[in-house]
């Protein structure tokens, strides 16, 4: 089961999907495009625990994390 993790005021909201299910994959890709289109940063973890920023949907990613654009304060 893959997951898209969206940071929010509750800590996070997780959307799980089966990467072998075409419909679920399409929905996950649409969510990815919608969030990155709104300025969210998407990041995935590699097997070695390194974090990478991604700009296109990776169907093989086990976990993709989204957070809104950064601001200074």
């Amino acid at each position: 089961m893959s997951a898209q993790i969206l940071m929010d005021h509750t800590g996070d909201t997780r959307h799980f999907f089966d990467a072998d299910d075409a419909a679920a994959l399409t929905e996950a890709e649409e969510r990815f495009k919608r969030l990155t289109g709104r300025g969210f940063t998407a990041a995935v973890r590699t097997d070695r625990g390194e974090v990478t920023k991604v700009t296109s949907f990776d169907p093989a990613a086990e976990e993709t994390l989204f957070f809104p654009r950064l601001v200074g304060g």
Partner: protein, 140 residues
């Protein structure tokens, strides 16, 4: 009936904000999941962890807080400059720290472009104040 409703309401709020699944705890769990082994160890011990900027190779220390919690370190490991930036909106400390870690490790230059600088002494002052309050309250 009124009393039962009140008790249910209090129980619901307690679970939401004070239980093991409250936003603060969820944020910390997510952060710990995404930290490297050495960062996790450092965070568990000190409530902060260090990251290396992807563009400059500089070391930044991210403290457990939501604002004014990133310090650039000098070669001796002393705070040199404070950087204040965070994801837009309300987020718990764990989430803010994770966003800051990812930003510095993957798009450092862009993250610092939006950040406000602050003297690191402001951060040190906060830490000292917290340590004094903890000592007075008998907390370790």
């Amino acid at each position: 009936m009124f009393l039962v409703r009140q008790i249910r309401r209090i129980r619901f709020r307690y679970r939401k904000y004070c239980g093991p699944n409250n936003p603060e705890a969820r944020g910390q769990r997510l952060l710990r999941d995404w930290l490297s082994t050495s960062q996790r160890k450092q965070f568990d011990t000190n409530k902060y962890f260090d990251v290396i900027g992807c563009n400059t190779g500089k070391t930044y220390r991210i403290y457990y807080d939501r604002v004014m919690n990133v310090c650039e370190l000098d070669e001796a490991g002393r705070p040199k400059m404070g950087w204040c930036f965070f994801p837009k909106g309300y987020f718990v400390a764990g989430d803010v720290m994770l966003a800051q870690k990812i930003a510095l490790e993957t798009f450092e230059a862009d993250a610092l472009k939006v950040a406000e600088r602050f003297p690191p002494s402001a951060r040190t002052g906060q830490d000292q104040g917290r340590a004094t309050r903890d000592a007075r309250a008998g907390r370790p």
